[in-house]
């Protein structure tokens, strides 16, 4: 039925696409699976059974589930709150808010955590001013499962925000008007109409946030290890630190547990989205708009507070630590120095290289994924629900397993030169690029699929009647109507990959360093001042790129650039 209803152009394209998916999503997962099971023997202690029988594995699983779930909840609250306010109300300076909300993704989570630890720690300049700083060495509430979840939530809030925004833009106004006619209060409208109508995007955003939290290593490493709070990615890292001969299969085994968790999550997602498939895009009414009236000032203030916590304070912390000679020194006229910047720009050839490499990787990954997701999303939407969810979960797995494990899979796959053409991808940027494609496919695809499922089928049918073939329909009808979702997907991929660390950490090689690797290596070898300086530059670079995009906005379809009205 599927194939029958497609024309020949799409038929070979679909074949190509499914091959591509098999290559970049399925292959790494399968490779890990084989790694996990090859050393299974029937003796009592094979690596996999060791892993499975260890009480710590299950504790880590439980903890992972707890922190990711709580983090997802926070991300959903934060991201959807922001999305609702900035896309549906008459708040002032809307573009600025959106712009600022995108940036926390760019600040390494370690930096955010550290600046909070400092802000509320014994050395806090703020608390010390009022003399209420805690004593040296007292416990900090950030070191807790909830602290981890909070940071995970902040990191993934923009995922929820962007996934949701497209749908909110397409909610027809008359839905709300009908509810107002029934005398529903603004609050009831929100609970009864808007939230359920945007459920599929909320669920998609939440799924992205969950999966991204599940695979995150940096945050639980910083806040969990000190209190011996194990999650799966840190457990995996522990396993690797053991250097034993079995590490690969142990690590692969643990990753398979994460993959199972993802599959379970996908089932939940499917279930939640089942009844939320209705056409919203294509209604020819005006978009929704709420007048906040007197609540506008307080709302703006609340947004400002949230932003200063998740963006301004960490950013200031980051900037300060880039201007001092060494870690822990106060910033004043005596200590102020631009040495870090000078050193970085003049002495380190790798800096420029890393900027170019990461910039290219992020740009091309985003571009290619956007290109792939258009036909892919279209084809997937045409598959029966059940097949679609299986394919979608397979695509999700690479994003969920910790980057370092994915990198292992890629090394295992590509360390040898490719057969037949005898070219080695390993040790080039190419392998990082492939790994990014594999890792971030689901990030780009999720918003696209959601948007496509909202599309009123009769719009495409009308084009069919006009005689348009699949490709033409895709380009003329579907793409323009779901463009904001595509751009949101591409933007997310760009933002995530520009300072991606864990995948490239194992895959980089001399000359192919990425920004994430550069920052991390500097930081790890004690040059955290240099690392901060680069982080500042990355934030600046991304912010100016985003600002540049706003200039293009008038020539692009409406709603494509989130921070442009």
């Amino acid at each position: 039925m599927l194939i029958r209803s497609l024309d020949s152009q799409l038929r070979w394209l679909s074949l190509l696409l499914f091959l591509l998916i098999a290559l970049i999503s399925l292959l790494p997962s399968l490779r890990l699976l084989t790694e996990a099971v090859t050393s299974v023997s029937f003796t009592a202690s094979s690596p996999l059974s060791d892993v499975l029988s260890s009480e710590r594995t299950w504790r880590a699983l439980k903890n992972s589930f707890y922190t990711s779930s709580l983090g997802t909840l926070i991300a959903v609250l934060l991201g959807s709150g922001f999305a609702f306010i900035v896309s549906l109300t008459n708040i002032r300076r809307r573009p600025l808010w959106v712009f600022c909300f995108m940036l926390p993704m760019m600040i390494p989570p370690q930096v955010t955590a550290l600046s909070w630890l400092q802000l509320f720690g014994p050395a806090s300049p703020l608390l010390n001013t009022f003399g209420i700083a805690p004593a040296l060495g007292s416990a900090n509430p950030m070191y807790s499962a909830e602290g981890i979840a909070l940071l995970l939530g902040i990191q993934s809030a923009p995922l929820v925000f962007l996934a949701l925004r497209t749908q909110l833009m397409n909610l027809p106004q008359d839905m709300v008007e009908a509810a107002r006619m029934a005398s529903a209060s603004q609050f009831r409208i929100w609970i009864d109409i808007i939230v359920p109508l945007s459920r599929s995007a909320l669920v998609a955003g939440a799924a992205l946030a969950f999966v991204s939290s599940l695979g995150n290593f940096g945050i639980p490493a910083m806040l969990g290890i000190p209190i011996n709070y194990l999650v799966l990615p840190t457990l995996i890292y522990q396993q690797m630190a053991g250097f034993g001969e079995d590490i690969l299969s142990e690590v692969a085994g643990l990753s398979m547990i994460i993959a199972l968790l993802v599959l379970a999550g996908m089932l939940l997602q499917q279930w939640l989205q089942q009844r939320s498939q209705y056409a919203l895009i294509g209604h020819t009414t005006q978009p929704i708009f709420f007048d906040l009236k007197k609540a506008r000032m307080p709302t703006e203030f609340a947004l400002g507070m949230v932003l200063s916590f998740i963006l301004v304070i960490p950013l200031i912390g980051l900037i300060i630590s880039s201007f001092v000679p060494a870690l822990g020194m106060p910033l004043n006229s005596n200590t102020f120095t631009l040495n870090a910047y000078v050193e970085m720009v003049s002495n380190q050839g790798s800096t420029a290289r890393a900027f170019v490499n990461s910039g290219m990787l992020a740009f091309f990954t985003a571009m290619v994924l956007m290109l792939v997701c258009l036909p892919l999303g279209y084809l997937l939407m045409r598959l029966p629900m059940r097949v679609r969810s299986v394919v979608a979960s397979l695509i999700e797995v690479p994003y969920a397993i910790p980057g370092i494990v994915l990198a292992i899979a890629f090394i295992l796959l590509f360390a040898k030169p490719l057969p037949i053409i005898n070219v080695s991808l390993y040790g080039t940027l190419g392998i990082i690029f492939l790994a990014y494609l594999s890792c971030f496919l689901s990030v780009c695809l999720k918003p696209v699929m959601t948007a496509m499922s909202l599309l009123d089928a009769s719009l495409e049918e009308a084009a069919q009647l006009a005689g348009a073939n699949s490709i033409q329909r895709l380009m003329h009808i579907i793409l323009p109507l779901t463009a904001p979702a595509f751009f949101a997907g591409g933007l997310l991929v760009f933002l995530i990959s520009i300072n991606e660390l864990t995948v490239s950490a194992l895959l980089w090689s001399a000359g192919n360093e990425t920004l994430g690797v550069l920052i991390f290596n500097l930081d790890e070898s004690g040059d955290s001042v240099l690392a901060s300086a680069i982080s500042v530059l990355v934030v600046l670079l991304v912010a100016s790129l985003m600002a540049l995009l706003s200039l293009l906005a008038p020539r692009l379809p409406k709603g494509i650039i989130p921070w442009h009205d």
């Binding site: 027809p172 008359d174 839905m175 008007e177 009908a178 509810a179 107002r180 006619m181 029934a182 005398s183 529903a184 209060s185 009831r188 009864d192 109409i193 359920p196 109508l197 459920r199 009844r275 939320s276 209705y278 056409a279 919203l280 209604h283 009414t285």
Partner: protein
């Protein structure tokens, strides 16, 4: 219960002025229809009454209370109005029963009473069996009926209907018209009813406002409107009939057979200064005699109960008549005009 007053209401969408200095005074408990060609601003008026669109200038009052003006705006939810949308505006995530029950939920009506009222509303629109369907699984007309049921389930002060029967077949329309009448009788709500179907408007409404390009053309009872339309545009718009150019005659009076035949036959390019309206049932086919006008059949179209016959007068003007029997195209006949209504010219 209070009078609904539109005072000098204007509405502008960016470049275009859509409603122009509208004045209406709608008695409490009356049933008013807004009639007019597509795009004349009917829905816009309803939306201003409901409070979805602010007025560009002028004022809307409900009794002493100012609902909308340039300075003030009472939000929809504080108005206790009900509305059926032209686009239905069903909530796609709720089943039919949930859609219909939502206004009750908001009014905190629960349990058995809620169930009963939902059931009643659905049975009025003949959709009891569809209570658990989602709107996406309904046909066009079924959706419209759900929207209808939803608007009638509570008892608002003012109910606004935007083409509520456009997608329903004749029998369902008749049933629904009866329902509206009963509802109106029972609740004494003020009803403002937008429709493009004149027969619907005439049979339901106490008063009809006819709009043209955002302007009020006539405000009258159905009978007045049908029998004594003001100008040629209105005569063309309301009911079926033919507007003929005739020799000069005092407007706004009835003209009977003799004078009528005279002024119709006297017409020539320079003398055609007045217009009259002839309804098709005022045309009788007769045997040839001195009193009769000779005509030729241009087209004859079957309409169920009778045939629509388009006749051509000697001077080339067209005349619509009814016939019980099919007539051959091109054949010649004689007719007698019983009466006609003399019209004002359009401004």
């Amino acid at each position: 219960m209070a009078r609904l007053i539109l005072h000098n209401v204007c509405k502008q969408f960016s470049e275009q002025r859509v409603i122009n200095n509208l004045n209406l005074s709608i008695e409490p408990g009356s049933f008013v229809a807004l009639l007019g060609p597509s795009g004349c601003g009917k829905s816009t008026i309803l939306r201003m009454l409901a409070g979805f669109e602010p007025v560009s200038s002028g004022e809307i009052r409900h009794g002493e209370r100012c609902l909308s003006s340039e300075q003030q705006h009472v939000p929809t939810e504080a108005r206790n109005f009900g509305m059926v949308f032209q686009s239905y505006a069903l909530w796609p995530h709720m089943t039919v029963a949930e859609n219909v029950g939502y206004p009750l939920k908001i009014k905190k009506i629960k349990g058995v009473e809620k169930e009963q009222r939902i059931k009643d509303a659905l049975s009025v629109v003949e959709l009891e069996d569809y209570a658990n369907r989602l709107p996406s699984q309904l046909s066009g007309g079924q959706r419209q009926r759900v929207a209808l049921a939803r608007s009638l389930v509570t008892e608002p002060d003012v109910v606004l209907f935007d083409e509520p029967l456009a997608n329903l077949d004749r029998h369902l329309r008749a049933t629904m018209e009866a329902t509206f009448r009963a509802f109106h009788k029972r609740t004494k709500a003020t009803i403002v009813y937008v429709t493009h179907d004149q027969s619907e408007a005439m049979s339901l409404a106490d008063h009809i406002a006819v709009l043209h390009k955002g302007q009020l053309v006539q405000w009258a009872t159905p009978e007045e409107l049908y029998n004594t339309p003001k100008n040629t545009w209105l005569a063309n718009f309301i009911g079926r009939g033919s507007v003929l150019k005739v020799a000069a005659i005092e407007p706004l009076q009835y003209v009977k057979t003799d004078t009528l035949h005279q002024i119709v036959q006297m017409v020539n390019a320079s003398a055609a200064t007045s217009s009259i309206l002839i309804r098709p049932h005022d045309i009788q086919f007769v045997e040839e005699n001195v009193d009769a006008l000779s005509v030729q059949v241009r087209t004859c179209i079957f309409r169920g109960e009778r045939y629509d016959v388009e006749l051509i007068l000697n001077d080339g003007q067209a005349l619509l008549a009814y016939s019980e029997y099919p007539m051959i195209e091109g054949s010649k006949h004689y007719v007698r005009l019983i009466q006609a209504w003399a019209l004002e010219e359009d401004v």
